[in-house]
Symmetry: D3
Subunit: 313 residues, 6 copies
Amino acid sequence: MTGLVTLGEAMAVVAASEPGPLAPGASARLSFAGAEATVAIGVRRLGHPAAWIGRVGADAAGRMIVGGLRAEGVDVFHVRTETAVPTGLMLRERRTADRTRSAYYRRGLAGSRLAPEDVDEELVATARLLHITGITPALGSTARDAVRHAVDVARRAGVTVSVDVNYRSLLWSKDDAAAELGFLVRQADLVFAGPEEASLLVGEAPPERTAHALTALGPRQAIVKLGAEGALAVVDGVALAQPPVAVTVVDPIGAGDAFVAGFLAAYLDGAGPTERLRTAATCGSFAVSVQGDFEGLPRRDELGLLTGDDVIR
Amino acid sequence: MTGLVTLGEAMAVVAASEPGPLAPGASARLSFAGAEATVAIGVRRLGHPAAWIGRVGADAAGRMIVGGLRAEGVDVFHVRTETAVPTGLMLRERRTADRTRSAYYRRGLAGSRLAPEDVDEELVATARLLHITGITPALGSTARDAVRHAVDVARRAGVTVSVDVNYRSLLWSKDDAAAELGFLVRQADLVFAGPEEASLLVGEAPPERTAHALTALGPRQAIVKLGAEGALAVVDGVALAQPPVAVTVVDPIGAGDAFVAGFLAAYLDGAGPTERLRTAATCGSFAVSVQGDFEGLPRRDELGLLTGDDVIR
Amino acid sequence: MTGLVTLGEAMAVVAASEPGPLAPGASARLSFAGAEATVAIGVRRLGHPAAWIGRVGADAAGRMIVGGLRAEGVDVFHVRTETAVPTGLMLRERRTADRTRSAYYRRGLAGSRLAPEDVDEELVATARLLHITGITPALGSTARDAVRHAVDVARRAGVTVSVDVNYRSLLWSKDDAAAELGFLVRQADLVFAGPEEASLLVGEAPPERTAHALTALGPRQAIVKLGAEGALAVVDGVALAQPPVAVTVVDPIGAGDAFVAGFLAAYLDGAGPTERLRTAATCGSFAVSVQGDFEGLPRRDELGLLTGDDVIR
Amino acid sequence: MTGLVTLGEAMAVVAASEPGPLAPGASARLSFAGAEATVAIGVRRLGHPAAWIGRVGADAAGRMIVGGLRAEGVDVFHVRTETAVPTGLMLRERRTADRTRSAYYRRGLAGSRLAPEDVDEELVATARLLHITGITPALGSTARDAVRHAVDVARRAGVTVSVDVNYRSLLWSKDDAAAELGFLVRQADLVFAGPEEASLLVGEAPPERTAHALTALGPRQAIVKLGAEGALAVVDGVALAQPPVAVTVVDPIGAGDAFVAGFLAAYLDGAGPTERLRTAATCGSFAVSVQGDFEGLPRRDELGLLTGDDVIR
Amino acid sequence: MTGLVTLGEAMAVVAASEPGPLAPGASARLSFAGAEATVAIGVRRLGHPAAWIGRVGADAAGRMIVGGLRAEGVDVFHVRTETAVPTGLMLRERRTADRTRSAYYRRGLAGSRLAPEDVDEELVATARLLHITGITPALGSTARDAVRHAVDVARRAGVTVSVDVNYRSLLWSKDDAAAELGFLVRQADLVFAGPEEASLLVGEAPPERTAHALTALGPRQAIVKLGAEGALAVVDGVALAQPPVAVTVVDPIGAGDAFVAGFLAAYLDGAGPTERLRTAATCGSFAVSVQGDFEGLPRRDELGLLTGDDVIR
Amino acid sequence: MTGLVTLGEAMAVVAASEPGPLAPGASARLSFAGAEATVAIGVRRLGHPAAWIGRVGADAAGRMIVGGLRAEGVDVFHVRTETAVPTGLMLRERRTADRTRSAYYRRGLAGSRLAPEDVDEELVATARLLHITGITPALGSTARDAVRHAVDVARRAGVTVSVDVNYRSLLWSKDDAAAELGFLVRQADLVFAGPEEASLLVGEAPPERTAHALTALGPRQAIVKLGAEGALAVVDGVALAQPPVAVTVVDPIGAGDAFVAGFLAAYLDGAGPTERLRTAATCGSFAVSVQGDFEGLPRRDELGLLTGDDVIR
């Protein structure tokens, strides 16, 4: 039985190696990214079977993504290969040591062609957890329908549904997002959101009020991600604050997805809310201590490394 | 007075640094490419004023392209910046030391939005040479119209017209290409083509027959590029063979455009056909001795370097 | 049903990035190597299910190896993790552009602890092909017994047995090797050897005589690998010569294993002897055109790339 | 009309890539540097036409400098090329992550040969601003005369004169510097100095007293650069303090020149003193967030990036 | 006369260049390490003759180590080359920016074969200082005997003996270590230890109490290294605290050995206890500001660099 | 007793890592070079004691040179450190894969200040061989006098004198060079020259005639270096031709000096003329197979590597 199933878009990432404006001759690092793929990898590294559903192109980028997921042990059996359009790509300029600016090549490309027929019903119905993000329904109408279909299958089968709001302003308007994301969150058991994202659904409020308001929409677990300030969760009506885990930051991207992965893996472990949050925060810190979105995620035997006394010998 | 004016598309290039299948963590080199931009740079390095007309996105890739051309002294006064779509990009896998495979992100993007209004009539009419390639009209109908318009302006002003056939099978069918390229070649004074490309216009034949057949369409100078075998030209009815100039190959891409640049620069110098071909072949060899499409192109004082006795001291 | 099963040792590789004597501050490239692992990857890239059996340490090198094989889609279900000793490692100095010198850290380490109990009998008995090399029995008595056991299981189940002689003079004496390898080759259906290796078993002779002599020991297919001169095979009594496939050499290591992978994959395809040899030679050339032992191996849709006219567009 | 004209020396920079003592085989990054060139680039990136006057050698370093300035859009029409001596160069050892030590190759080389005849009088007289530094007059008597001549032309034409004291103890004595710099500052409208530099002219005092004392020499705007503590300015008799803008430091070199560029660009914008200082501090922080002296300087649309909430999407 | 003699093991180091889990294709930096070799280099850079005794393999790693020490001016006249086994090696994964995890290849290899006959009695007897660490006796019985022999020779000749406890839990048990290290410390004039290490010998206590307790065993100088908190020493009965010297940390490994080198060099200078500690702390900070264990160590003329006002010009 | 003593200039080398025109952001490799230093290293690697006399600056480049020579075991006891001027430097642009162009920073700098007092008479008089090149006397009058003095001391002591003509047209005129080099060659026992260099002394002629003519000036051994064509020698009146040893070329610089080192080392071995030439050619090939001038030089146990069958295992 699969622990976690997720579906979404994964793109090639071309990230400038050094801070500064792009110039001819500059070097870059190739990898891939995708919020759902990162969550699948994170959950898998912590020991739970995980499957990722999506579409890639019949090209080097697509092979890099599928090979990368397979290296992690993520089930890619249901990934489809598009022959007509390439895999999406993002070009990241590191404008300064701390600030990146990206150009996206994704509209109409392979990942956005996700469709309901990609959702293997048995895979979803026999999983313990379905995780979706607010990015996927913004990719297009077939992708949106794929997400709805997956949620529908999961709910009918009694599978726990997790939603990370992940609002992307480049992809759709606040109104469209609020409508669709509200629809999805109301069917979810867990919801993750940043403060601004949450305000789309429940208006602006301090984090704890926000988390309570999210649970009022339906989910029994609502987690407000506060970035460098940690997180605030309401689980079964009880509010918990999680401070961040200190670490030297190498690449700030991917922290939020790592946080979700840690929380969900601990949930699948059967750990209590405090432990879920602590694992989540630890995963977030691991993610930012390494270049790339998913590369830094911890394996189970590494979770104690950041808070250990020193180097492991 | 500008020596050469050209118009077309330039794209960011992300080229894998090492041969092999792309994998997460691999490194790449960033630069830009575009047949017409390469020709403009090559002509400029050899001492003639050159202008490039095109569109880029309002992004890091677009700034890299414009800055790169400006560094070379190419006139970019008529480049437009698109705010709605990004600059095109190509991702090059170096599958082996000798073979690359590319994915293109260009359809509908900034470069393909070139349009007749981008063609500054005075710039073209006062140039000595207009150079176009068969890539630009394949990008879309407005780009095709821009090329036609530029050729029209040039001919009315008595400006020499150069066409590099440059057939790209990914962009249009042979039939469409043959029709449009035939139309353009008939108005040209110089035409460059590989053997296969030429066969679109004049059928298959040995290089010398091909060159003669191309001149029969109108141009007084027809040059058949034979890659590692050199080139065969018919100039004012006389056939000339040009052997390649020996060099260690570092990156085979860009040789054809460098060849054209060398030929056109020597033409602008007032050099005779033999010297034009020799300069062309020398430029082609310089191009392949350096990574990148345009980076290796020679300045005038470097032309003798490849055939010199040894290191310059 | 698995196409190919193989068993052996895989080690981390630390290969100096630049030619020259090692010096503090020099850079190196990390990867992994192992003749059998390379064959499994090569067969898998050409479309046949493949499984690799071996032991790795509970360390970063072991995780790199298992993840690397998994990325390729090789079945690593039967890989065991040793907690008491580290994964083997080899340090490669590139003394010149063409010559490497390696130090080995393998004696008593994880890979050498392979034992008969690692050989999953059902996996072997249901495969179409078992491939072994002369390296594994040289690692120690339990590894030797594992190989014998695998061959025994395969033969009882009617599974084709392939042996690559791969004599390693650092690991055992010529006499010990000749005895054990002779024992294995006599039970094989296919045998691969270099001229010197073959002489251990059948004495010195020209390649064709050598190949015939090898078939006289039992195998119906004997292939003598001649490096830069190609290969000479005797299949079902018929001798065939295979010239090498031209390519720019980047890293000469791994050619022999790639050759075997190509031959075996074509054999699994049901291709005839000529095609097997051609695929073998193509794979050998791909391997040397890329850094690393296995990284350059071709996928099925790439086999024509080296002999194609030019860059794929 | 040019916004800013400046004149001075630019040198090639060879900066060790990694901290530590130089050793054979170490890698370095090539670029160029020069206080005045950095100011010209910074002002140009913020939207004002800028010209740089200087001399380079007829060598690769000289071409790199001119091409680099041209890439930025800086007017290099009046740059002269010396054929008899090479372009200056500095070799930077990064002794630790925070401390660099440089060897200079500049005495008698191209940049130091700047002379009054290089100062195009029309260019200076029609600019809005002339910027000079205390480095140029220290390079030799012809360079000193060039600076005096430029200031003279500017003052006669009513062009605003800016002086950055920039005392370099390796180039001249305190006494010589105090005499010449005092002469220049008395003719300036704006003066920039560090506390120690200012003490050459007005004695030691706290920053605000120092700034007032500098204005007493003549300039209506005096800015004391305090490095990591920000800056203190007196503009039209009013003192203003500017705190630093927080940023992760990658390379501390170039901050002071970036600060000047920001101040002068805002002055050319017509912004008030507070805005001038804020832009100056922002530019200083951009400069240190990227390797190289000028590479990190912001364009106008990037000024808000450092203080923005997060990554631009 | 040699200032310092030391003996021990040096190993090749393969350290991943970037943080993150090892993956095929990752890059690494080659160097060497060894607590005693680092101390010898540190003392030599500060101006005192130093000799290192040890064994290396007849391989590239061994040559790298000997060449590296020779480059520093360390006397390697008594280094022996083992032909039967390779030089030891450690593979360092930088799991995050701050945490490394290493696999060791050292058991039975060249360095561990150190034996009493390697200890040149005249070299030791004529030195001013013998330095040993707790690592060497843990490598095996001959290495332990070599250390005992060296200490014996030194004491009989009146040479000052320094011991760094350096307990390595992977190599021996606490009980074995406590017995041998206690034996050595009792014969020492100086002893260095971390708090945990010291507790093996004198039980747990606050640093100052620990230092006093160590002197009670025999040494007149006992220094408790407190890492990022500095150090606490008791010298001739007087307790002194040393705060750390601020620096940007690039690679935390090697700080302890650098600290010892600084202390011993100042002791050889004839400096007083306060100066010894300050030099020690400065050396520790230099070490962590550069990649590698020994590369960052300061020369005498660099000692003021970290606390200087700014860049040296 | 020292085998070889040599004296001359060594400079830091900054060599662009990739072919192409220098551009901001390009990477370079740091090392050092000097014809005499390369010969000393080459002779030392082949087992003979060697000493180098010269001057370096009190800077990072000087420390790199001295440390580099010390790492090789070259005696640097008589190297002097100049405090007033920096170490010389050369900046190498790799214009194409095969052609480099260098800018030199050497006039008046440390290396050129070599003077007669640097020549330790006892060192020279007790050596077996003094090697000088035509570069050193071109550096200035004190350097010229140092060379003359060294030759004088050697001849009076009966030490064999070797001269490599090494004419550098940037440093002096043909006439000046012919006079001084002729003076030196007449006192030499061995002379090395390229065909063009030799023509300065004996006029133009085919290689064998040239070699005979050189011996007519005095030396009993005259070797004409023919680059990629090998070499032609006349030893004791007998002419011998040496073909080149095949190798993949990585960096063509340093071949001539490596050739000399090999010849001289074999001469010191007592090997006959044929063996001297073979060792010389082998060393030349090693040098060009590795980046840098001296880095690739072989140790004695590596001499057979290039002609061996394959990789050493």
